[in-house]
């Protein structure tokens, strides 16, 4: 009796495991900025296509590109375009990256809500991160030391910030580094003299977004490119995905009405206008 029960359980385990093994898997890896959009799409797909198992990893745009090149993921989410070396590595390994721009994002400079400063120029932000401006009273605030916070170098947000604002100059050695958008948000929220930069979707109550060069970051200014630090968010696939496959549906989901709702819900600027 006990033996038959054991055999029955083992058989049931095999049956269920084959169901999982036979199921279609979609593995997505990459940026912490685009990650929430992929999560949102995966949520919708769970209801509409329940037999597909979608996993989303968020560890940085660079990590996502490396995973796509090594064929460890199906879709790589990146908040920047692939670098030269990443593209070359991909081609030598037989991977042909195709970019799909799923949303627009702005990198917003944020400060603590109690900070009286509400507008800065690109020049001033650059000097803060170069260590030339060390106190808030040099840019029109109260007298307190500036605590500058940056994302680490694995981040696409960091690359965008470095490209548009630092213009290739090295940041000062006293800058603090954090590893994700939510962590940067938490640091600025908890520190009075802090200044940091996060993606547009992470500007919530708790921090204040600054006006940069006279332009306030908002949906219209980011979509039109008027806001100086706006960038498209990408999903990369190996070649154009087969029409009708789940990967194809995933990377074109942002063109549907529900996809646009998901993108707006996560705080980004959709490319469509339903």
């Amino acid at each position: 009796m006990k033996r038959t029960l054991c055999y029955g359980l083992v058989l049931m385990a095999f049956v269920f495991s084959t169901q999982v093994i036979g199921a279609e898997k979609l593995h997505i890896e990459g940026s912490t900025t685009v990650g929430p959009i992929a999560d949102g799409f995966a949520e919708v797909f769970k209801d509409v296509y329940p037999e597909v198992i979608i996993t989303v990893n968020k560890s940085g745009s660079g990590t996502g590109a490396a995973a796509l090149v090594d064929n460890r993921c199906d879709i790589a989410t990146m908040s920047r375009f692939m670098k030269d070396k990443e593209f070359k590595d991909a081609i030598t390994k037989g991977v042909f990256p195709v970019a799909h721009a799923v949303a627009m994002d702005g990198v917003c400079i944020v400060v603590h809500p109690s900070n009286p400063v509400s507008a800065l120029t690109t020049e001033q932000v650059r000097n803060i991160y170069l260590g030339k401006i060390k106190n808030w009273n040099q840019v029109g605030g109260s007298s307190s030391p500036i605590v500058a916070i940056s994302r680490d170098t694995a981040s696409g947000t960091y690359d965008t910030f470095e490209g548009f604002i630092m213009k290739g100059q090295k940041m000062d050695s006293s800058i603090e580094y954090v590893s994700t958008n939510p962590q940067a948000f938490a640091r600025v929220k908890n520190t009075r003299g802090a200044i940091g930069y996060v993606g547009f979707g992470f500007v919530q109550t708790g921090v204040k977004a600054l006006t940069l060069d006279g332009i306030k970051p908002s949906k219209q200014t980011i979509l039109s490119g008027k806001y100086p630090v706006s960038r498209p968010l990408f999903m990369f696939t190996n070649g154009y995905p087969e029409l009708g496959s789940t990967a194809h549906k995933f990377v074109t989901f942002h063109l549907t009405e529900i996809g646009q709702e998901v993108v707006e819900d996560k705080g980004f600027v959709p490319v469509t206008n339903y």
């Binding site: 560890s59 940085g60 660079g62 990590t63 490396a66 070396k85 990443e86 590595d89 307190s144 030391p145 605590v147 680490d152 170098t153 694995a154 981040s155 290739g168 090295k170 050695s173 006293s174 800058i175 603090e176 580094y177 954090v178 590893s179 962590q183 938490a186 640091r187 908890n190 520190t191 009075r192 003299g193 802090a194």
Partner: protein
């Protein structure tokens, strides 16, 4: 008579007494091979762990060697400019990182060694056996908490608290990381120190009391000096735990690759070697200078922990020898 004879025959058959005493050729060879094969298999399994350590060293040295060949080691170890991903002229100076690691480790030891040794004294000499068991298990739980949980606590709770109460401009600094590392090193120090203090035996204490010493004098002038090898081993093990900790310092120390300006100012943000490797490894392209520089830092870490391990082994063997004598 007949039945007992038959019984003896079946017993003899079961014990193999009805077979000839000399082994056949195949039986002999089979026995020889199986005996030696068994020994080889067990030897290989034992070697696997030794091989793992050896291969880790080999792998790290191989990846770091091209970098150490091309760039001057002196500049690597003495420059404070760490800009590995700059476009025109990347600089690889790890002095700020080494100083950061040393700062947080030594400050963590400053907090955890007195608390740890006093707690070990309390656990071994002053409370009853049952309570000691319970308290030891609770302290072991401290060691089982994942380091990411400590990191969250540091960023979300400890950092704002430090900013509010001490008026630091930033709460994620060397002090924050040191406090957390001292909590993480505490279980190790308490366990090993308590074991070595308990092992010094009753005779020592009884002799001291018999000569008229008070409890305090016995504890600090007789027992702790007698157990000093084990206590030093405990401190070195705690130091190894603190120096190798990655997640907590990545979240709690602020990661500014600088040497603090007045050198004793712990309220400034620092960066450790472990956090640099963890933070930068995800992005670097395989085979680039940055990638190999990170392996060079890893080699430095391995060498430092290896030395600390040798020191702790030396003191532990001394402690065991003195225990054996008494």
């Amino acid at each position: 008579m007949m039945s007992s004879n038959k019984n003896e025959q079946t017993v003899a058959a079961a014990a193999g007494f009805d077979q000839p005493l000399l082994l056949t050729y195949t039986q002999d060879i089979k026995g020889f091979l199986l005996k030696h094969l068994g020994r080889i298999v067990l030897f290989v399994l034992t070697c696997t762990s030794v091989l793992a350590v050896f291969l880790i060293f080999l792998f790290v040295i191989l990846e770091a060697f091209p970098f150490l060949n091309r760039f001057s080691i002196v500049e690597f170890l003495t420059s404070t400019a760490w800009y590995p991903s700059a476009h025109e002229r990347p600089e690889f100076g790890v002095l700020a990182l080494i100083v950061g690691s040393i700062y947080v480790t030594i400050t963590a030891l400053v907090f955890s060694v007195p608390i740890g040794i006093l707690a070990a004294v309390f656990l071994s000499d002053m409370i009853s056996f049952q309570v000691r068991g319970i308290v030891k298990s609770i302290i072991e739980i401290l060691a089982a908490i994942p380091s990411v949980a400590y990191g969250f606590f540091a960023v979300l709770v400890l950092a704002p608290w430090l900013q509010k109460h001490f008026g630091f401009p930033t709460g994620t600094n060397a002090l924050n990381a040191s406090l957390l590392l001292s909590i993480m090193a505490l279980p190790t120090i308490i366990s090993v120190a308590e074991d070595s203090i308990s092992a010094t035996g009753r005779e020592l204490r009884e002799a001291s009391y018999a000569l008229g010493a008070t409890r305090v004098e016995t504890m600090f002038k007789v027992v702790i000096p007698a157990a000093h090898s084990g206590i030093i081993a405990a401190i070195v093990l705690g130091m190894m735990r603190a120096i190798g900790e990655t997640m907590v310092v990545w979240m709690a120390s602020g990661n500014a690759s600088q040497v603090p300006h007045p050198w004793w100012d712990l309220s400034q943000s620092v960066r450790t070697m472990t956090a640099t490797i963890a933070g930068d490894m995800g992005e670097t392209e395989k085979g680039s200078d940055h990638y190999r520089a990170l392996f060079a830092i890893g080699l430095l870490l391995l060498v430092m922990t290896f030395m600390l391990n040798l020191v702790s082994e030396y003191f532990l063997t001394r402690a065991k020898k003195s225990m054996g004598k008494s």
